[in-house]
């Protein structure tokens, strides 16, 4: 009898409460709208417009011909881990043991999910900037943790302030999560700005999850890998990948570099849920690490030109845009139009056929901004700018 009433009291749902508490991407409606319009110039993407450099594709094709079609080690192909270890050594002077401190993941996306599931206990808190990449907060929630947002703003170049982090540290805080360079803002935190964050992590014994997928896409500044900060290698989970710098988004290859204990836990989840990253992608990644630097450098040079054109263009239009020093996004303020960012994006799409992503998709502090990806041809950027100009003129007049 009492069992029966218990059953009745529980609200019936086909899906788990945990998943139910995550809201789907707020711009779903926007996607649907987009697919129904022809002739759209999209600044709404998050990936290069270059196809993967031919030498990388060719290596993968060759491997298929040779029959590389099997599972790999759960950790990833030994050769890839060795190349990666060498890469981290050459670029950051960091020593990661390829057998135990590195894990090849299905993009940084999987790396992030594994990280959260591996380190969080129910109720543990993860401090992260707002706005930030869309999957940060859901990954924490799905792993049973609580995301704690730290507002960042244009006045501070969207850098996360150590004092704001400190103010949010509680007995439940487990980690700080930062993306550097950042999506959606393009902000880059330099070494001297990261040092105080490292100090907080040390003092409170927090892990730092550093998403450095855009590490190679920095302009005129030097990227600082978080694990290189004093004593930070022991408490950093470094997430990186091949998608952005080598134009390999569809291959889905990323990596995690972290202390043995963390990698072992992440590997447990990875082996039971993913087995391994695709072998084809791993072979391509080996080629990228071995000889992809020239093609990557050429792409960065091209992005830089586009970056300067779009930032200047947006500022000229009157959409104030701080100078992003990394990734391939500009994050202009649209506050002068008195529209919400979602309204701006939707009307811009309908009236001028330019797709941008509303800043609100990246957190409440992204409201008032839109994300414009400049990984598209210069001709398209210029056309998009002229359309945005017309749109802004029209709506400021009324």
């Amino acid at each position: 009898m009492s069992t029966k009433s218990n059953v009745q009291r529980r609200k019936y749902s086909l899906t788990s409460q945990r998943v139910n508490q995550i809201s789907p991407s707020g711009i779903r409606r926007f996607f649907d709208l987009l697919s129904s319009i022809e002739g759209v110039i999209s600044l709404g993407v998050g990936e290069p417009d270059f196809a993967t450099p031919w030498h990388i594709r060719e290596a993968a094709i060759y491997s298929l011909e040779k029959g590389y079609t099997m599972y790999t080690s759960n950790l990833g192909m030994p050769e890839l881990r060795q190349e990666l270890s060498r890469y981290l050594q050459d670029n950051y002077n960091l020593e990661y043991n390829p057998d135990g401190e590195l894990l090849i993941t299905v993009g940084v996306s999987e790396g992030l999910d594994l990280t959260m599931r591996a380190i969080l206990n129910p109720g543990d808190e993860v401090i992260m900037p707002d706005p930030c990449y869309v999957s940060y907060s859901p990954c924490v929630v799905l792993a049973g943790g609580t995301p704690i947002m730290v507002p960042t703003n244009e006045e501070n170049d969207f850098e996360i302030s150590p004092a704001d982090i400190e103010a949010r540290v509680t007995s439940k805080t487990k980690a700080i999560l930062i993306g550097n360079p950042a999506n959606p803002t393009g902000a880059v935190m330099l070494r001297d700005k990261l040092l105080p964050i490292a100090e907080i992590a040390r003092r409170h014994k927090l892990l730092v999850i550093s998403d450095e997928i855009y590490a190679k896409l920095v302009y005129g500044v030097e990227h600082a890998c978080f694990a290189t900060l004093p004593e930070m290698k022991e408490s950093t989970i470094l997430l990186g990948g091949f998608s952005k710098a080598y134009a390999m988004t569809g291959w889905r290859i990323g990596y995690a570099a972290a202390p043995t204990e963390v990698i072992a836990s992440m590997t447990k989840i990875h082996q039971y849920t993913m087995m391994c990253a695709s072998i084809m992608g791993q072979v391509a990644a080996i080629e990228a690490l071995k000889s992809g630097d020239t093609s990557a450098a050429e792409m960065v040079e091209e992005y830089n030109r586009r970056r300067l054109v779009i930032v200047q263009g947006l500022n000229d239009i009157g959409l104030s845009c701080f100078e992003p020093r990394g990734a391939f996004y500009a994050f202009p303020s649209i506050k002068s139009t008195a529209m919400t960012s979602e309204e701006f994006a939707e009307r811009l799409l309908i009236e001028e056929k330019v797709a941008v992503v509303p800043g609100s998709a990246f957190g409440q502090w992204g409201e008032g901004y839109v994300r414009c990806c400049y990984a598209t041809s210069l001709a398209d950027i210029e056309e998009a700018l002229s359309r945005i100009n017309r749109f802004v003129d029209k709506h400021q007049a009324t």
Binding site: I27, S42, A51, V309, V357
Partner: protein, 160 residues
């Protein structure tokens, strides 16, 4: 700085000084001055267009001629090369290493015209030991541009 400007122009000669100024963070006037200077000192030789003539069914015949020559005292290959490159039909002339010395790209209206040029003008030049003519059958890639089946961007319009 001039190298950055040249790279941009080599990729698209129509890029304006103002655009280059934005792309490189150099004042527009300075960009214009550097371009002028490069034009004057023949760093920039010419602005031209890569055309796929097949599209307009223009019947042009191209041939690649290997030319073996006897180098001459004091001037080496240069004087023979000059006698060849003075002809407007010779669009490109290179001195190369290997089994022959000069590589000449010839253009003509017909195969006959090209053959005549080789036999009557090129081969008889003093010092030319022999020629091998390769008529061009199909152009796949021109100056870095793939003529047909160029890859299109296959991205989803919005990805977060």
């Amino acid at each position: 700085m001039i190298k950055d400007i040249l790279k941009i122009l080599e990729n698209d000669a129509r890029t304006t000084a103002k655009q280059i100024s934005t792309m490189t963070g150099t004042p527009s006037a300075e960009v214009a001055r550097l371009i002028k200077q490069a034009e004057n000192d023949r760093t920039i030789l010419k602005y031209k267009t890569i055309v796929n003539w097949e599209k307009v069914r223009d019947e042009q015949v191209w041939a690649l001629i290997e030319v073996k020559v006897t180098p001459q005292r004091d001037v080496g290959f240069d004087s023979i090369a000059e006698r060849i490159y003075r002809f407007p039909q010779a669009r490109t002339v290179y001195l190369v290493s290997g089994t022959y010395d000069l590589l000449v790209l010839l253009v003509g209206k017909t195969m006959h015209e090209v053959a005549d040029f080789v036999s009557q003008k090129l081969a008889p030049i003093e010092g030319v030991q022999g020629t091998v003519t390769h008529f061009m059958l199909k152009r796949y890639k021109e100056d870095g541009e793939i003529l047909e089946g160029k890859e299109e961007v296959k991205r989803q319009p919005v990805i977060l």
